[in-house]
């Protein structure tokens, strides 16, 4: 199946949860926040959130800005 992460298509095995995806992306430990299809997913739900075909994720962090 395919999902979109930060605007880019990404192939993914079925039944992958959000925590597994983050580990694949080497973001497992990072200070990040996630929107799944426009809704924020709290960190406590990463493990139980199973990604679906065509899901769209936004993964953000804090960077320098004024």
């Amino acid at each position: 199946m395919n999902i979109v992460v930060n605007g880019k298509p990404q192939a993914l095995e079925a039944q992958t949860n959000l925590q597994q995806l983050l580990e694949n992306l080497q973001l497992g430990q990072g200070r990040i926040a996630i929107e799944l299809n426009g809704e924020i997913v709290p960190r406590s739900l990463f493990q139980q959130t199973i990604l679906q075909n065509d899901d769209s994720l936004e993964i953000v962090q804090a960077i320098g800005g004024g």
Partner: protein, 263 residues
């Protein structure tokens, strides 16, 4: 400093010793940013919320590892947002990222060339964010009526521009800032436009509660020295405001007595 000058800046119920808020953009690296932060004495620092870099540089340091949210008050901004919906989404992401942190800097821009605020979208976003429990510090134009409206909506600080973001042109319309201050019941913080130390002093001498700046420090030839200059400028401007300046006169007024001259 006397007791009056030590009076604290209170935003959303939290007391701050420093009336200077700085940004974290445009620095050479996080270390320079941190050193400038320390030199400035600022306790609040703005950050932006952006997509993570995937695949590339995934081991590069994170801003939050260098500038600790335990030591400083982070002020996530909505820079780059051109409508209320994007600004609200950004604030909600920031709240999640910073584990329930409610203080945000709302800015909704209207035009890429001037980065002037889109005031109608700013008002909409402010209403939504206040209802959603955020403590909103809001960047806006120097229109006194809009500033008052934003206060009535429930923003915890109103932050009119002194001049366009990153322009370094100083406080272009001190009269409007004065009018905003006359009616304000929340802190008024000049956000944007400061270019050098005297600009920060002018904002404080007008009676502003604080100054927020990024480029003036980050783009100085020596950012650390400018951070130190800004700290002093904000303090001296505040003290001068509290002291109350002498009246302006058209003609001279001799400082040495006329009586007792022997010639």
């Amino acid at each position: 400093m006397n007791q009056q000058a030590q009076e604290k800046l209170t935003i959303a119920g939290i007391d701050y010793q420093s009336r200077l808020i700085i940004g974290s953009g445009k620095y050479k690296d996080f270390q320079q940013n941190l050193a400038a932060l320390e030199a400035s004495g600022a306790e609040i620092i703005t950050v932006a919320i952006r997509r993570v870099n995937m695949g590339q540089n995934s081991d590069e340091p994170n801003l939050l590892e260098v500038i600790s949210p335990d030591k400083y008050t982070l002020l996530p901004n909505t820079a780059g947002c051109y409508n209320a919906d994007d600004a609200v989404r950004t604030c909600r992401m920031a709240r999640e990222l910073l584990e329930g942190h409610k203080l945000v800097k709302l800015e909704v821009l209207g035009d890429q060339k001037t980065l002037y605020p889109n005031v109608t979208e700013t008002l909409l976003a402010a209403e939504t964010l206040v209802k959603d429990g955020f403590d909103v510090m809001v960047y806006t134009s120097d229109d006194p009526l809009i500033a008052k409206r934003l206060e009535e909506i429930g923003c915890v600080a109103v932050m009119p521009l002194g001049a366009p973001i990153g322009s370094g042109l100083g406080i272009r319309n001190p009269h409007n800032i004065r009018l905003i201050l006359e009616n304000a019941k929340v802190p008024i913080i000049v956000d944007a436009g400061v270019g050098t130390a005297s600009d920060a002093s002018i904002a404080m001498e007008l009676g502003c509660d604080g100054v927020l700046m990024n480029t003036a420090i980050a783009e100085a030839k020596n950012p650390l020295l400018m951070a130190s200059a800004m700290k002093k400028a904000v303090q001296s401007g505040r003290e001068a405001f509290l002291a109350g300046r002498m009246p302006r006169r058209l003609y001279a007024s001799a400082s040495s007595p006329i009586d007792g001259t022997f010639f």
